[in-house]
């Protein structure tokens, strides 16, 4: 009996230590996943939905949830926060720093660069378009930063895919875009300039 008991005890000890190790591993694994999520949120032009994160990183719903909690806990001490919007997760500077940003970059909000406006125009007039459609029309590669700014302002969204190689996402303008430009519908966009008359001017 005593021997059996001993054997049992040994067994249970072993089980315990194994499960502890597993737990450690699981924590490390979730920590790693949370870092990967952080990287993707920093690198993505558009907000990323939970489904897309699961797909990119091959995660179960539970794994994603745990990793997001770890990420949120880690961010709590920093200047960024994890923000869930209608179109997905994104990393955002904590609101309490807005006075600092406004003091240092008062123009940050109002100024729209020519490159940003061109990109927005191509999307507005030719929607739905892919990234490479924009590059084709503008004749230059599209910087991720510009798309990110347009997504951040909520002026464009991804919706659907073009049925070509790589299934690129299709970009559309949003109601917020119309609001910002004082339009009630896309039909109200000024008519496209007639190139013949432009050439005559120049």
């Amino acid at each position: 009996m005593a021997m059996v008991d001993n054997a049992k005890q040994d067994n249970s000890k072993q089980t315990l230590s194994v499960s502890l190790e597993q737990q450690d591993e699981a924590i490390n694994k979730h920590e790693t996943i949370s870092r990967h999520i952080e990287v993707l949120l920093h690198a993505s032009e558009a907000p990323i939905t939970a489904n897309v994160l699961k797909k990119y990183l091959s995660l179960s719903t539970q794994e994603l949830q745990q990793a997001l909690e770890i990420l949120q806990a880690r961010l709590k001490n920093g200047v960024l926060s994890l923000n869930e919007t209608a179109s997905g997760y994104r990393l955002q500077i904590t609101d309490s720093y807005s006075p600092l940003i406004q003091r240092v970059f008062p123009q940050r909000q109002e100024r729209l660069s020519q490159a940003l406006l061109e990109t927005l125009s191509v999307i507005a007039y030719k929607q739905p378009v892919t990234r490479s459609d924009i590059e084709y029309v503008r004749g230059v590669t599209l910087s991720s930063n510009i798309l990110r700014q347009l997504f951040d302002k909520g002026w464009i969204i991804e919706n659907g895919y073009k049925d070509t190689l790589g299934r690129p996402a299709l970009l559309h303008t949003t109601p917020q875009f119309l609001d910002a430009f004082g339009l009630t519908s896309l039909e109200q966009l000024p008519p496209m300039p007639d190139m013949e008359s432009i050439k005559a001017i120049s």
Binding site: Q109, E118, Y125, R148, F181, M192, P193
Partner: protein, 303 residues
């Protein structure tokens, strides 16, 4: 098989090719070259070369695509020099010229957008070749040796090409490393109300974009059949056979840009060759005093 051996013969044979007709329209005549091939072979400084590098044999249909891999005629010449296994300073100008011309000969009308720079180089090479073949004049000439100048250009190009590869090997932002992107704090906190923009901003940006110098040129760097030659021939034939005579300018499709002008010109040349179209003699046009002006080039239907 037939085609491949034709190209091979073409390369090995120093056939004289007029760069313009060769480059744009003519395709090497198979039997002429086969005949010539029997008595002539590629020589590098008197040494006959029996074995050409394998990768010099390119099927003609693949040729234009293959040539697009080169950054230009200097890049292509450099390739030929390398393939002949010679020191740049010892570049055997005659065989390299022959090889170069043989290749450029394959550039047919479908790929003439590539041709301009290559034809310019061909004329330089022919000039150098002519100079080398002519007896050396007794009196020294002050002009620079064109061969030395070409070699200098090749060296300078090779140096820049190699430097550009070193540049490409550097760790580059947005290829090897990436900027971190984050969103700004909430809009309503950043600003009490959304700034309002005028929709004219959008139109202005499109104006500016299209007015950029060269914007339209870019739009027409579109590859191969952006403006198919056959279509142009048909369209010009139709217009001329209906109207009898029109100015070249009227025959252009303005939406086709600069490429369209070149294709239309080639189409007109082709129609003239077939004797379907002729140039209206400016002297015959009553009251015309502008015969020197290019835009008055008027064409008539002969058939």
């Amino acid at each position: 098989m037939q085609v491949t051996s034709a190209i091979r013969a073409d390369i090995q044979t120093p056939v004289s090719i007029s760069p313009v007709s060769g480059g744009i329209a003519a395709v090497a005549k198979v039997h002429d070259i086969a005949d010539a091939c029997d008595n002539m072979a590629l020589r590098i400084y008197q040494t006959p070369v029996q074995h050409l590098p394998e990768d010099l044999y390119v099927p003609p249909q693949a040729f234009a695509i293959w040539l697009e891999q080169f950054a230009g005629p200097l890049d292509f010449l450099l390739y030929l020099v390398k393939k002949n296994n010679v020191d740049l300073t010892q570049m055997p100008i005659l065989p390299i010229t022959e090889q170069y011309l043989a290749y450029i000969n394959e550039l047919n009308a479908e790929h003439f957008e590539l041709a301009g720079d290559y034809l310019l180089m061909a004329s330089t090479l022919i000039a150098i070749k002519t100079e080398l073949l002519l007896p050396t004049p007794q009196t020294p000439i002050d002009e620079r040796d064109p061969k030395a100048e070409l070699i200098e250009r090749l060296e300078a190009y090779a140096q820049i090409k190699s430097a550009s590869q070193r540049l490409d090997n550097l760790v580059r932002l947005e290829r090897d490393v990436f900027l971190a992107m984050v969103s700004m704090p909430n809009q309503d906190i950043m600003q009490a109300e959304l700034p309002s923009y005028s929709p004219n901003l959008l139109i202005d940006s499109l104006f500016k974009m299209q007015l950029m110098p060269g914007y339209h040129m870019k739009m027409h760097t579109v590859k191969t059949d952006a403006v198919p030659l056959a279509d142009r021939i048909v369209s010009i034939s139709r217009q001329l056979s209906t109207d009898g005579a029109r100015s070249f300018y009227e025959l252009l499709d303005k939406t086709q840009g600069k490429i369209g002008v070149v294709v239309s010109f080639v189409a007109v040349l082709e129609l003239m060759k077939r004797q379907l179209v002729g140039v209206v003699n400016a002297d015959n046009i009553a009251g015309s005093h502008t015969s020197n002006q290019l835009n008055e080039l008027t064409l008539e239907w002969l058939a």
